[in-house]
C-alpha cells in the first residue's frame, strides 16, 4: 500500500518542478489514476468515519450532532478485561497457526513440485484447491458431521462401545480443531504462490549442483529453499500484519460450541460489543486500536527483514 505512493523507477528529484514532472509522467499518472480514485473513494474517504471513535455516536442523529467525548471510548476499550482476553486469544491462535499452519503449504508445494507427471500434478492441485471455495458454514458443518457428538466418528465409536466423543464442543482441543479446519480449507490454496516461486528457479542451478555431486536433500537445501526464501519472508510479514485477524466467520460459527473463554477473538468481540449492542463508537475505537497494532507489527517485521538482508514487503526508494 505504501509502496504505491512512490512508483519504482521514478525517484523524485528536487530540482525539477512538479509541473514538468507531471507532464513527463502523465501517461503513468493517468494509468494510476483509476486505482487512486478507487482507493480514495472506497478506502480513504470511509476512513474519515473513524472519527466516531471520539464521539458518543448515534446513527440517528449523525456524526455532526453526536457529541465529542475525547478518548473515553479508547479508555473503555483498553480497560475492558474482555477486550484483553480477546487479544490474548487472538494472539494464541495466531501463534499456533504460525507454527502449525504456515509451513504446511510450503511442504505441500515442495512435495508437489517433485511430482513429475503433469497430469497427476494438475489433478492433485485441483483437489487440494477445492476446499478453499467452500464457505466456512459448509466447512464447520462438514466437521460437525464427522467429529461432532452425533457425527460419523462418534457413531462408529459408540458402536464399538466407546461413548462421549465430541471434538466440536471441547474447549481444550479447540485450537487444534481450528488449525485443522484452516489447514483442510486453505493449505491447498496457499501453495499457489510457492509453486509460482518454484517455477522461477533456473533449472541450470539444479544441473550444476547435480554435477557437483549434490543429492536430493542438498539440492533442496541449497537451491530450492533459498529461491523460496524471499517469498516466505514476504508472506510471513503479511501474515504478521494480519496477526490480529484470525477468521471472523470460522470463530463466530463455533463460539457458542466451545465458549468465549477460548473462542472470543478481537473481531467477534467488536461484533458483539459494538454492532450487536449498537455501541458503534466503542467498536470503532477497538477497530482503530487493532489497526494500529497491526501496522506496528508489519513495520516491525519489515524492519527485521531488512536487518537480516531481505527485501521485505517494501523498501524506501
Amino acid at each position: 500500500m505504501t509502496a504505491a505512493s512512490s512508483p519504482p523507477g521514478a525517484p523524485p528529484r528536487r530540482r525539477i518542478p512538479w509541473t514538468v514532472r507531471a507532464r513527463r509522467d502523465r501517461t503513468l499518472l493517468i494509468m494510476v489514476a483509476p486505482a487512486v480514485l478507487l482507493l480514495a473513494v472506497f478506502a480513504y474517504v470511509p476512513m474519515l468515519g473513524n472519527v466516531v471513535a471520539w464521539q458518543d455516536y448515534s446513527p440517528y442523529v449523525g456524526i455532526r450532532e453526536s457529541p465529542f467525548i475525547g478518548w473515553a471510548n479508547f479508555a473503555r476499550v483498553l480497560t475492558n478485561p474482555l477486550f484483553l482476553d480477546a487479544v490474548a486469544n487472538t494472539l494464541v491462535i495466531t501463534a499456533v497457526q504460525l507454527v502449525f499452519f504456515f509451513p504446511v503449504p510450503i511442504v505441500l508445494a515442495l512435495l508437489l513440485n517433485s511430482v513429475l507427471s503433469p497430469g497427476l500434478r494438475t489433478t492433485i492441485q485441483s483437489i487440494v484447491y477445492l476446499p478453499h471455495f467452500f464457505s466456512w458454514v459448509i466447512v464447520v458443518t462438514i466437521f460437525q458431521q464427522i467429529f461432532g457428538g452425533a457425527g460419523m466418528v462418534a457413531t462408529r465409536l459408540r458402536e464399538a462401545g466407546y461413548s462421549g466423543f465430541d471434538l466440536m464442543t471441547n474447549p481444550d482441543t479447540f485450537l487444534l480443531l481450528l488449525t485443522a479446519q484452516s489447514v483442510w480449507k486453505d493449505a491447498g490454496w496457499g501453495i499457489i504462490i510457492f509453486l509460482a516461486a518454484l517455477a522461477t528457479v533456473d533449472p541450470q542451478l539444479y544441473e550444476a549442483s547435480v554435477v557437483d555431486g549434490a543429492g536430493r536433500w542438498r539440492r533442496m537445501w541449497h537451491v530450492t529453499l533459498p529461491a523460496l526464501r524471499p517469498v516466505i519472508i514476504l508472506l510471513l510479514i503479511l501474515r504478521l500484519g494480519d496477526a490480529l485477524t484470525v477468521g471472523f466467520e470460522q470463530l463466530i460459527l463455533q463460539r457458542g460450541a466451545v465458549g468465549t473463554d477460548v473462542a472470543e477473538v478481537l473481531d467477534t468481540f467488536v461484533y458483539y460489543q459494538g454492532v450487536v449492542n449498537g455501541d458503534w463508537a466503542f467498536a470503532a475505537a477497538a477497530g482503530l486500536v487493532k489497526g494500529l497494532v497491526s501496522l506496528a507489527l508489519v513495520l516491525g517485521a519489515n524492519k527485521l527483514a531488512h536487518l537480516v538482508g531481505e527485501a521485505g514487503v517494501y523498501q524506501r526508494a
Binding site: L82, A257, G259, T260, V276
Partner: protein, 550 residues
C-alpha cells in the same frame, strides 16, 4: 402462518430476546441525557403514557369463536363461516403507491406481477410495494436502513426483538407521530384499528407519543413441545410434573445408538419452570426492593438445572454445539423429542411435516413448576411487532396509509381477512366440503404473509386446515391462562440509557457456558458482582424511578 416469530432459524440471541418483551422492550433514550445524567432521569425512557394519547377501544366481533377466550387466552375457530361479512363496501384508499419493508421466514415471492398482492392492492385502493427480507437476518438489514434516513421506506415493520439500541431516538427522527390521528376518539374513524386492545397500543408508545401500529401478541407465547406420536410409540404417556422428572424423562428417551436424544437446549423451559423474571426484567424482593433477573435465585436455579440436564447426556450433540437453527429439523425428523418453541411454531411445523409424515404430532407440555407446585407463567407481550409510517408533510397520505392499515386489521369473518390471509378464492384456495380452505399450488408461489406484519387484528387461531389442532391449541392455552401473571413493568415501552446496552451481554455467554459445564455458579457470582459495579446499581436506580412513578 400467522406467527412468524421464532420460526425458521432465529439465533438464540434473538430467540431469547423474545422473552424480553414480557417486561417491556428496552431501547435507548436520548443520547444527551444518557451522557449528562448522573442518577438516571426517569422522565426519559420510563414508558410513561399521558392520558389521552391512547386510542379508545371499541371491540367488534363478526363471528362467535367456537373456542372462546379464557382469561385472555387466544380464541379459536373450527371452520370458515359460510357467509363472510364485507367490512369495506368500497376500497378505502385513494390510489396512492407506497413502499413497505417486511420480514419473511420462508421463500420470498415475486413482489411485482403477483396476483395476490395485486388483488389486495385493488381491494384496498392503495398499492403497497413490498421489500421483503429474510426474517432471520432482518435485524441486520433494519439497523442499516434505519441509520440512513433516505433509505427508509414509507412503511416499516420492526419486530420487537429487532429493536436496535437507541431505537427511541430513531423513532423520533424517522417516523410519523400518530397521536393526532389515533388518540382517543380519533381512532373511531378506523373501526378495525379501534378493535385492537389498548395494551398493544400502549406498548407502541415511544417518548409519550403513539408511533407503532401493532401486530398483537398472545397471552402465552412460549411452550415446551414433545413428540406425542413418538412418545406414545415408546409407551410413555406421563408428562413431567417437576424439574427432576423432566430430566428423568429426557434421559429415558435418549438412545444415541438409535440416533435419538431426549432434549434440545431447554433454557426457555428452565425459565418457565423456575419463573425466572423475563430477560432484562426485574422482580420485587419481599422488602420491596428491586432484584434484577440475573441476581434472582430463580435465575440461579434455572442455570443449575440446565447444567444438570446437559450433564445427564440427554441433550442432542448439535444442541451442545449451540446450533439453534438445527433444532426444528431435528425435532421434526425425530432425532430430538423435546424442544422449546414459540406457540406459533406448532402449526408451522404441522404445515411442514404433515404432508410427508401424517403421524407427526407435536404437543405442548401442560405448565408445571420445578417443585411440582403451582406454575407461574409470565404474560406474553401485548404486541410482538410494530410497523411505523415514515415522517411526511402530506397529512392526506398519512390518512391514506392509516385507512390501509384499517383495512388490513379486518378481523376473522370478513372477506378482507380472508383475502389478506388466504388470497383469492378459486385462485389461491378452494373451500372443501367441510368448509375448510385448501390451498392451491398457486398459493405456495404467491401468498406470503406480508400484510399481517404491517398491522394485524387481535390474535385468533383460525388455522382450521389442521384437524383437531385449533381445539387442542385453544384448550391448552385456556388451561395455561389460570397461571398467567404480569411481570413487573409489563407492557411498558421502557428505554434504558445507552450506557447500559452491553451490561447483559456477559450473561448470554455465561448461560451457555454454565449449561455446558464450562463454568460454574461461582462464575455467576463474579459476573453479578461485575454487573453491579459496572452500572447495574445505576440501572436499578433507573428502574426504581419508574416504579416510584407508577
Amino acid at each position: 402462518m400467522t406467527a412468524p416469530h421464532l420460526a425458521g432459524g432465529l439465533s438464540r440471541r434473538s430467540f431469547l430476546g423474545f422473552l424480553a418483551v414480557g417486561a417491556g422492550v428496552v431501547g435507548v433514550p436520548s443520547l444527551l441525557t444518557a451522557c449528562t445524567s448522573g442518577p438516571a432521569s426517569t422522565a426519559q425512557g420510563g414508558g410513561t403514557v399521558s392520558s389521552g394519547v391512547l386510542p379508545t377501544y371499541v371491540p367488534v366481533e363478526y363471528v362467535k369463536p367456537d373456542f372462546p377466550s379464557v382469561n385472555g387466552s387466544t380464541a379459536g375457530y373450527a371452520s370458515i363461516p359460510e357467509e363472510l361479512v364485507t367490512a369495506f363496501a368500497t376500497p378505502p384508499g385513494s390510489g396512492g403507491t407506497y413502499s413497505a419493508m417486511t420480514p419473511l421466514w420462508s421463500a420470498i415471492p415475486k413482489t411485482s406481477g403477483n396476483p395476490y398482492f395485486d388483488a389486495v392492492s385493488e381491494a384496498m385502493g392503495t398499492t403497497v410495494e413490498f421489500q421483503i427480507s429474510d426474517g432471520n437476518t432482518y435485524g441486520d438489514k433494519l439497523a442499516a436502513v434505519l441509520a440512513s434516513a433516505k433509505d427508509v421506506p414509507d412503511w416499516v415493520c420492526v419486530p420487537t426483538w429487532n429493536f436496535p439500541p437507541r431505537f427511541a431516538q430513531a423513532v423520533d427522527a424517522l417516523f410519523e407521530d400518530l397521536t393526532p390521528y389515533l388518540s382517543g376518539d380519533n381512532v373511531k374513524k378506523y373501526k378495525n384499528l379501534a378493535n385492537i386492545p389498548t395494551d398493544a397500543w400502549r406498548f407502541g408508545v415511544f417518548n409519550d407519543k403513539l408511533y407503532g401500529l401493532p401486530f398483537p401478541g398472545e397471552l402465552v407465547h412460549l411452550a415446551t413441545f414433545y413428540r406425542a406420536d413418538l412418545l406414545a410409540e415408546l409407551g410413555i404417556t406421563e408428562q413431567p410434573k417437576t424439574a427432576d422428572e423432566f430430566i428423568e424423562l429426557a434421559k429415558e428417551l435418549t438412545d444415541p445408538g438409535k440416533k435419538r436424544w431426549g432434549s434440545a437446549d431447554q433454557w426457555i423451559t428452565a425459565n418457565m419452570m423456575f419463573a425466572v423474571p423475563p430477560e432484562k426484567g426485574w422482580k420485587l424482593a419481599d422488602d420491596g426492593s428491586l432484584v434484577s433477573r440475573v441476581e434472582s435465585e430463580e435465575y440461579r436455579a434455572a442455570l443449575d438445572w440446565q447444567a444438570r440436564l446437559y450433564k445427564s447426556g440427554a441433550v442432542h450433540p448439535t444442541a451442545v454445539a449451540d446450533k439453534p437453527e438445527e433444532m426444528k429439523p431435528l425435532f421434526e425428523s425425530g432425532e430430538i423429542l423435546i424442544v422449546n418453541d414459540g406457540v406459533g411454531g406448532w402449526h408451522e411445523s404441522l404445515g411442514r411435516v404433515l404432508p410427508s409424515n401424517p403421524d407427526f404430532d407435536p404437543r405442548p407440555f401442560d405448565p408445571f413448576a420445578h417443585d411440582g407446585g403451582t406454575p407461574r407463567i409470565w404474560k406474553g407481550a401485548p404486541a410482538d411487532m410494530f410497523s411505523f409510517l415514515k415522517k411526511r408533510d402530506d397529512k392526506a397520505q398519512i390518512e391514506e396509509l392509516l385507512a390501509a392499515a384499517d383495512f388490513l386489521a379486518s378481523p376473522f369473518g370478513t372477506t378482507e381477512f380472508q383475502l389478506v390471509n388466504f388470497g383469492v378464492e378459486g385462485e389461491h384456495y378452494e373451500i372443501d366440503g367441510d368448509g375448510l380452505p385448501q390451498a392451491t399450488d398457486a398459493a405456495a408461489d404467491d401468498v406470503a404473509p406480508s400484510y399481517i406484519f404491517l398491522v394485524d387484528p387481535p390474535k385468533v387461531n383460525a388455522q382450521v386446515q389442521f384437524e383437531g389442532y385449533v381445539e387442542a391449541y385453544c384448550t391448552w392455552m385456556a388451561d395455561a391462562s389460570q397461571y398467567v401473571e404480569e411481570p413487573l413493568f409489563y407492557g411498558k415501552q421502557i428505554t434504558e440509557p445507552s450506557q447500559f446496552a452491553s451490561l447483559g451481554t456477559p450473561f448470554v455467554d455465561l448461560e451457555k457456558d454454565i449449561a455446558r459445564g464450562r463454568k460454574t455458579l461461582a462464575d455467576l457470582d463474579d459476573a453479578v458482582e461485575t454487573w453491579r459495579s459496572s452500572g447495574g446499581e445505576e440501572l436499578r436506580a433507573f428502574y426504581q424511578g419508574i416504579l416510584d412513578e407508577q
